[in-house]
Subunit: 386 residues, 2 copies
């Protein structure tokens, strides 16, 4: 097990009817900017629940934060924060709204004139404007971590940011929000969370038995609840396990003490930036090729995953490891997710070269848990995904 530091101060308020507790969590006398996305919260009743809970507080609103939160939109929200002397941000949405709110939390206290630098120069946020979240879409885990990913259409870039100052003060997780989520988004959420776990697990054995078992626990639970949630989003038991699994998949716990490999996300983000493919679907496109390309370095963990998660216990280590990759791709397909780039765009030629060039330009050499994947390897992996 590797040395690690772990601290996660976010307060989770989990369960049905918990949105009403917002009023106990927002600081007294806060001037709140409530941030949300395309307006689905006005159709499913969550907007009303939040507004009712916040009666007595001064609340301004900023809606319209898009999926893959867009820098130019967020800059408009930043103007509101500064002009209106906002003191507390409340994200009501999924990962995009929460990530956008994290950017705003950081940018609100940033002293430079061009807050994109927080991303382009990888400046960690030690202190941000305090914020809370009401999660409306389980997927990214952003509700209990200190990271965010922001997109900038102008330059077709999608970059990460983070820092100890970016944990939500609190997050309200009410599994009944799942009732009204379209199945496309549910499927994306399951795939996103599942891949988050894989990125922190599918490396090489490092003697972290407990972390391995926790990771496998989340994978097993997602596999168990996925068909139930899709079949009946009102199945509260399934919904609550789905929601809590997504949070636990990326709140820091399972990545502590182990090697991680975020190459699937790194490549996937580029597919979203270049082709506008849903984030989760880019992961399902890249992951099988990534594991096939890096088979030799990952096969011990792939075989362990085969045995413990998929109950594939027959055959050699290589056979089990290979079968696990296939089973994972089939799992995504069973969810209704297509797993080839060419399923999403006819315009895929040149994508691998472009992504490889971008990584070279940014100095992103050495992806993977051994930091030894080169841009030409990235090119091969993306081509394998066509």
């Amino acid at each position: 097990m590797k040395n690690f530091d772990f601290k996660n101060p976010t307060k989770i308020i989990f369960g049905k009817g918990q949105i009403d507790k917002l009023k106990e969590e927002v600081p007294e006398n806060a001037k709140i900017l409530m941030l949300y996305g395309g307006g689905s919260i006005k159709k499913n009743g969550i907007y009303e629940q939040v507004k009712t809970a916040l009666e007595g507080f001064e609340v301004l609103e900023f809606g319209g934060i898009p999926a893959n939160p867009e820098y130019s939109v967020l800059i408009n929200a930043l103007k509101v924060i500064k002009e209106e002397n906002i003191t507390f941000l409340l994200a009501v949405g999924g990962g995009s709204v929460i990530d956008g709110t994290k950017f705003l939390s950081s940018a609100a206290l940033y002293e430079g004139d061009f807050p994109w630098e927080i991303l382009s120069q990888k400046i960690p946020t030690q202190k941000g404007m305090p914020f809370g979240t009401v999660l409306t879409l389980p997927a990214t885990g952003s509700e209990m971590n200190s990271g965010a990913v922001i997109t900038r259409a102008e330059t077709k870039e999608k970059l990460g940011m983070g820092g100890p100052g970016l944990f939500p003060a609190f997050s309200v997780l009410d599994p009944t929000v799942i009732h009204s989520i379209p199945s496309r988004q549910l499927v994306n959420g399951i795939t996103d969370a599942f891949t988050h776990v894989l990125e922190q697990y599918m490396t090489y054995p490092s003697g972290a038995s407990l972390q391995d078992r926790f990771a496998e626990s989340i994978l097993q639970t997602l596999i168990e609840v996925a068909p139930k949630v899709l079949n009946n989003p009102k199945d509260y038991t399934a919904a609550s396990n789905f929601m809590w699994s997504c949070t636990m998949a990326l709140n820091g716990l399972i990545q502590k003490g182990v090697p991680t490999d975020w190459a699937v996300h790194a490549m996937g983000h580029e597919l979203t930036a270049l082709h506008g493919i849903d984030h989760a679907r880019t992961l399902a496109v890249i992951a099988p090729s990534h594991y096939k390309f890096n088979f030799e370095t990952k096969k011990e963990k792939l075989a362990q995953y085969a045995e413990r998660v998929w109950n594939i216990t027959e055959g050699s280590l290589d056979h089990k490891a290979s079968a696990a990759i296939d089973r994972t791709e089939t799992f995504f397909q069973e969810l209704g997710i297509k797993t080839r780039l060419s399923d999403y765009t006819k315009d895929y030629h040149g994508t691998a070269e472009e992504i490889s060039k971008r990584f070279t330009d940014r100095g992103w050499l050495g992806l993977g848990e051994h930091q030894n994947l080169k841009p030409e390897d990235v090119e091969k992996i993306v081509k394998m995904s066509y």
Copy 2:
């Protein structure tokens, strides 16, 4: 899954060589009272490491906190805190030293004249004097939770306390401390952590699939590493999994959203108070009888535990559930722990009646996950353990 709130702000600093990081974690200008137990830290080098890390700080010391931290001893430490205007407490020890430090953290800011009231009147601590810990004995999980148990010899009482103000600011977990721990204490630690998980798991199925799997993960890991740690405490991989498992067993995570049943601990504490038996061993004495007595209400979870943790997959549900109780008792015995009260004292007659009477006197009716165990049931369970 039940509704829950979860927040755990303790910073964990895990790994070899991490004690040196103390100097970055203690507040600047702190006047520190360093608390420890019987002096083993002076033999195993931890005392020196801590003192070296704290060079430049003003550090006073208070040693001699006994196992089952004793109120009258702690009152002497409280005098030092007040007379010397201490601002930060540093526990260097196992669960007893950390629990004692939590009492002092609370008592230092308590406004009444008789701080035993914090325990006898169950007053939750909203704010305590800040403190950190250097864990020297994995077992209780006290290093990452906000609870403590304090003993008072004068009245033969052992009571719990807690509150959101009692999380350590930080805890340093260096698995190499295990090198010098006597096997009796290692065995106690494994048994204590194992039983902590059982108390949060062995109730009735509540649809909390992820929490169940996390609990099973800790149990499986403890079973896997126990013989390795006992055979060679310098096996760093085993030691680190043992240490992290003990912390995760009682940091709040696995008890969120599920019913819990702390009856084994409640009865065990009385055996320690009455007969001076090591805490962990009281749990191994009580647990099998408790599960046998409450077989009907717990058998579904017992059978799940049988299958997933012990790989007992044959036979009826009742058979598997029963076999799981036997296997658990055998596990304790394999560790070298005796599982009958009469193994520890010839003076056991009347113990069951005395414990039952104490629970009645304190109004402790309704133990167990259904709050339906009566003092006469407690009497029967303790008698079954003779």
